[in-house]
Structure formats: C-alpha cells, structure tokens
C-alpha cells in the first residue's frame, strides 16, 4: 500500500509497554475491543477530520492491533474531547498520571491526583483480559491512596476527580485472554496468577467516546428497514473513514433503505442518495427511505431515483462531494440492475402508456458496478475527498484484485470477519488527482490492474461465497454444531413429523 501501511500487519510489539517519551500531557485512548482491524483507520480518520496529523498525536510503532490502549499527546483538552466524541470505536480518553510495567512501578511513578483539600474523588479499578479479586483490587487501590493521602472527601457519585487503575493483559487474535488469572470455576491458574501485565495505567477519567450514538440510533429503533439495511456501528465507522463532518456533502449511489446516509446525517452531513429500485425508496406504507430521518429529526436526505450506470448523463456537477459512502449491490442480498434491455426483448411502448410504463431493467454485472462506482467517485469527489465502500470477500484475498482508478489512491483496507472463511472489507480511497472528462473511458479501461481476471473474481463472488459457506458448514458439521444450525426446512418438517408420530405411538 502506498502511504498507509495495511492495518493487519501491526501486531508485533505485544510485549513492550506503551510508553511515549514526550513530557507534554499524555492521554490514554481506550478503544472498544471490537472491529479490531478498523480501529487504526477509524482513529486516524477522526484525527484528520480535526485537522491533526496522526504522527503528531502518537507514534505509529506504539499502535498494536490487539491492544485497546494507546498513549497519545493531544494539543489541548478540547481537541481530545472532540476526537473522543467523533468516533464510535473509542470508549474513553483518560489523562495519564502514571504508566508502569508492574503495579509497583506504576505506584512509584504516580503523582498526587487531587490538588486541593476540598476536591472530592474516587478510584475505580479496571482490568483488560484478566481479573482481580475484590481484596486484590482494594490492596492495589490502597497503595496509591497511602502514597498520596488525598485530603478531600471520597464521593462515589459524581466526584470532581475519578481515577482509574487499569491493568492490561494480552489477548489472543480471537479476542480471548492469553493468560487468564482464574479459570471458569474461579480458582486461580498458578502459571498465570503472578504473570506481570503488559502495562498498568493510573489515569483520570476525562472524556467519553461517541459510543452512545450506536445505542441511540440502533436499527432496532427504526421504523423502516430492509434486508440490506446496514448495522449502525459499521455505517458510522464508514462515514467517519470518509471524514464526514458537519456540512460535508455526501453521496451514496446505491442508497437502498438509506442506512448509510442516516449515519452520515447523524454526523452532520448533507446527503444525496440515488437508487434504481423504487420499491426500497418508497417502502410499503412505512413512508420509505425518508421515514427514519423524520422519526429522528434529522435533516432529510436528497433522494433521486436514478441509474448509477448513467450517472454522468444525469449529474452535471463535477468534483462537489466531500465523501462517497456506499455498500454496492453484489447480488448476495440484492442483485444489481441497470436500465435498458437486450435487443430482442425490446418492444415499442405505446404513447398512451408512456407515462406509467415500468421501464425494463437488465442485470448489472458486478465488475461494471465497481468500475462505474470508481468512475462516479473520481468524477464526483472534490480533490482530497474520500470514497468508502464495502466488498464481501473471502479471507484469502489480494489487494491487487481491488479495482483502481488513476484519480483515486487506496488508503485503507479493513477486514471484518463474518465467519471462519467469509468476511467483508471496507475499502477507503482518497481522490488525489483532478478529473479530466476526456479521459473517462481510458481510465475506466485501466480499472482492473490484474486484468479481466480480478473482475471475474469479483463477478464470481456470489458463487465463491456460497462455496465458502458450504465449506464452513462442513467444517461445522465436523465440529458437531453445523448440522444442527443448518437444517433445511424439509429436514425440520420431517423431524417434526417423526416426533408427532412417536408421540401418537407412545400415547
């Protein structure tokens, strides 16, 4: 990858503690332990959206995909708060008092945490990927209290200062603790119980992340949904990766039920969506794509029923959008269609029926969908604007198989596993070169750098996914759960009949 390293390769420094050398105020960013491969992209995008350069905030070598903690230096408290609020993958940003490799080290390095005798305080205990008993927790807390002897009152509810003691232990790539201190029955595991943590942080609670957006706008609360509605968390991550901020001009050329534009609107974007399918736009009596926006008092998006393959004939504007965010139709949940029909199926339309004639559509091959999407992005985005799209893919996948465009630079590819072999990737591209109308066709032809083959690969994605699902099922059957999970309707009916028969017999 050109300028940003692929996010999946940075899990090497698991054994060293994160310590930054600068003397400026240090902040501890606590990420949610989800979407691991998206966290760096998401955090960097939030920084760039605040006009900060990621390299001035944290050392790239300190970032580890498997560690949810990162020491940063923000220019001021206000910026840190803004960054925390802008992303759904940050749980909290703390102000660091001390960092140590062991509890004792952290205690020794700590500084007084209250500044006046009237300041109320409390200490909370937090552990990542391990557990401490109540008495162990209390012992560690008292090491800090005995050293600094804060004179202010202890207050459990809304104190002026809340300090957190965080012990971080390593996790496996699956997310499970590498060295759990206790087993399931609660008895200590001797080999792990005295193992030192990766890091111990003593820090004051400072700013909560934007997690509340996920709960506030969850799909469960929406009136209008469809089979292609995307989960709220991922669409917020996508919009953040597209640098959507208040008054960004955002386009989704395959808007469907509008779930991506909904998130863009939550972030303050001015949204435009197009789709060929009038059924998703209008809905069945629920008020269609506008419904959820009205329910949540968000500004209405601009919806146009139009055909992505004819985008350049319909849209006059060039280089106006700040972001293009979309989940293109790959034919897995919903097949793609475009206007027109094959020569032999075309019939003349009588004049009296022209006004209510339903235009015929034809299959829109996935390879063309992608090539058209990149062309629309190259033409529609401002220089510096971003295209973010999803592509379902298998685990063994090469970046070289992604479509490219002269005007767009690949920035990130983040993988979300959806099963053992299946998953989807979020692709982020940045527009780096101005649009030249005359070169449209020339650029489009160069869309697939590995030739027709990779276009075919994308084209065959659906069959590949079906095959992978089959494999996964077989794998599951071997392990003893797949058979039960994937019973066919026929099998279930048969079993039910057998049960009834059996019951009759025994009665």
């Amino acid at each position: 990858m050109a300028s940003q390293p692929s996010t999946r390769s940075s899990s090497s420094s698991a054994s060293t503690a994160c310590t930054a050398t600068s003397t400026a105020t240090q902040y501890l960013v606590h990420f949610v332990h989800r979407h691991l491969d998206f966290r760096k992209c998401d955090f960097d995008s939030s920084l760039i959206a605040q006009n900060l350069s990621p390299s001035s905030i944290y050392a790239a070598s300190n970032f580890d995909m498997l560690r949810p903690f990162l020491i940063c230096t923000f220019p001021d408290d206000e910026t840190a708060t803004k960054v925390a609020k802008s992303t759904v993958l940050i749980k909290h940003i703390y102000k660091v008092n001390s960092v140590g490799e062991t509890t004792e080290d952290c205690v020794a390095k700590s500084k007084p945490f209250t500044s006046s005798p009237t300041e109320s305080w409390k200490i909370v205990f937090d552990t990542f990927a391990s557990k401490f008993t109540k008495s162990e927790q209390s012992k560690i807390m008292h090491q800090f209290i005995d050293l600094h002897k804060p004179s202010g009152p202890v207050k459990m509810k809304d104190p002026t200062t809340t300090m957190s003691i965080i012990h971080e232990y390593p996790v496996k790539i699956s997310g499970a603790p590498m060295y759990p201190r206790f087993d399931h029955s609660g008895s200590p595991i001797p080999s792990n119980v005295d193992r030192p943590p990766l890091s111990v942080y003593f820090c004051s609670n400072f700013a909560a992340g934007g997690r509340d957006l996920v709960e506030k706008y969850t799909l469960k609360k929406r009136t209008y949904l469809g089979p292609t509605s995307m989960d709220n968390e991922l669409s917020l991550i996508m919009c953040n990766a597209a640098l959507t901020r208040p008054q960004s001009y955002v386009l989704d050329p395959f808007v469907g039920t509008g779930s991506i534009l909904f998130s863009a609107s939550v972030l303050g974007g001015i949204c435009v969506g197009t789709d060929i399918d009038t059924r998703v736009l209008k809905g069945k009596g629920e008020g269609g794509v506008m419904r959820n926006f009205l329910d949540c008092n968000l500004p209405l998006p601009e919806i146009i029923r139009g055909d992505n393959s004819l985008h350049s004939r319909l849209f006059r504007s060039r280089e106006v959008y700040d972001s293009i965010v979309t989940d293109p139709p790959y034919g897995i949940r919903a097949g793609a269609r475009k206007s027109g029909t094959t020569e032999n199926r075309r019939k003349p339309i009588p004049d009296e029926h022209r006004h209510d004639h339903i235009p015929q559509t034809q299959v829109y091959p996935v390879g063309d969908v992608m090539a058209d999407l990149l062309t629309v992005a190259a033409r529609g985005l401002k220089v510096g604007g971003r295209l973010v799209y999803l592509i379902p893919s298998l685990k063994d996948f090469e970046e070289g198989d992604l479509p490219t465009h002269e005007c767009l630079e690949l920035k990130w590819v983040c993988y979300q596993p959806l099963g053992l072999l299946l998953g989807r990737r979020m692709v982020v591209m940045k527009k780096v070169k101005g649009w030249v109308e005359e070169k449209e066709e020339e650029w489009k032809e160069k869309c697939w750098p590995n030739g027709k083959e990779s276009a075919d690969k994308v084209e065959k994605l659906r069959e590949q996914m079906a095959e992978a699902a089959k494999k996964e099922r077989a794998e599951g059957e071997k392990q003893g759960w797949g058979g039960k999970l994937h019973k066919t309707k026929k099998q279930r009916k048969k079993e039910m009949r057998n049960e009834v028969e059996l019951k009759k017999f025994t009665d």
Binding site: Q247, I270, I276, E302, I303, S339
Partner: protein, 139 residues
C-alpha cells in the same frame, strides 16, 4: 428535492440545463447554516466560490417557483441576475438567500421538464424519478 439537487441535475436525454420545474407542493424546512472562520453560510459559500453552483440554474428555478415561494412567506428571495463577487456589498445577504433557496426549500410534488423535447420527470414525495425508459437509453 431541494433546489441544490436541481442545480446538479440535467436531462439525461439531451443534457438540457436547467430543467424547468413545475410544482404543486412546496415546503420550507429551516436548517442551521454553519459559520466557520472563513465566514457565514459555509456550505453554499464554498460551493459558490469554487464555481460549483450554476447561477442560471438557481435563478431559473426561482423564476419557475415564483408564485409558490411567495406562499411560503420566507421573503421574496431575490437574487442578482449574475453571480456576485465575494466583495460585493450585499454578499452576506445573497448567501443567506442562496442558503434558503438551495437548502431549505423542498419540492414535494411536481415535475422536472426537459426544455428541449418536453420530456417530464415526475417528482413524487420529494423524490424525482429520473429513470429512462428502455427506448430512451441509446442516444
């Protein structure tokens, strides 16, 4: 459909621009403009100063919707006949008018008409239907 969108659309048949608007239902939905260090009405100002707003498109749409706009009672929303420069005296008030016209006025029901061949594209529930019939695609 906001007039901002009208400003970006052309006839997919003949590329005729601007599309004529006929309208039976118009609505005004206020929205809060963003002020940045560079000045007020950030969104429209940026588009305008980067040459991304077609002045003929806005003035044409204003003319098409003249009677309906009067009914909205949001002022007469007059615009200069050609695009003003940022140092013209009424610039801020022009930006305000542009903000209302492009972002706050919604065409709910009506049609967009290709002035060259009269083909009408229906606007239903605020959604213009720009899909072409199968015999209109080749040109």
């Amino acid at each position: 459909m906001r007039l901002l969108t009208h400003n970006t659309l052309q006839s997919p048949l003949t590329s005729s621009y601007p599309l004529k608007i006929t309208c039976t239902a118009l609505r005004h939905i206020p929205s809060t403009p963003l002020t940045t260090d560079e000045g007020p009405y950030d969104f429209v100002r940026n588009l305008l100063e980067n040459g991304k707003i077609e002045w003929d498109g806005v003035t044409g749409a204003r003319e098409d919707l003249k009677d309906k706009i009067e009914e909205l009672a949001v002022g007469d929303l007059q615009l200069p006949s050609s695009q003003p420069s940022p140092d013209s005296p009424d610039y801020t008030s022009t930006l305000k008018t542009l903000h209302i016209l492009l972002l706050e006025v919604h065409v709910l029901e009506g049609t967009l008409i290709d002035k060259e061949n009269g083909r009408a594209f229906k606007i239903d529930n605020g959604i213009p239907n720009m899909i072409l019939l199968e015999d209109e695609i080749e040109r």
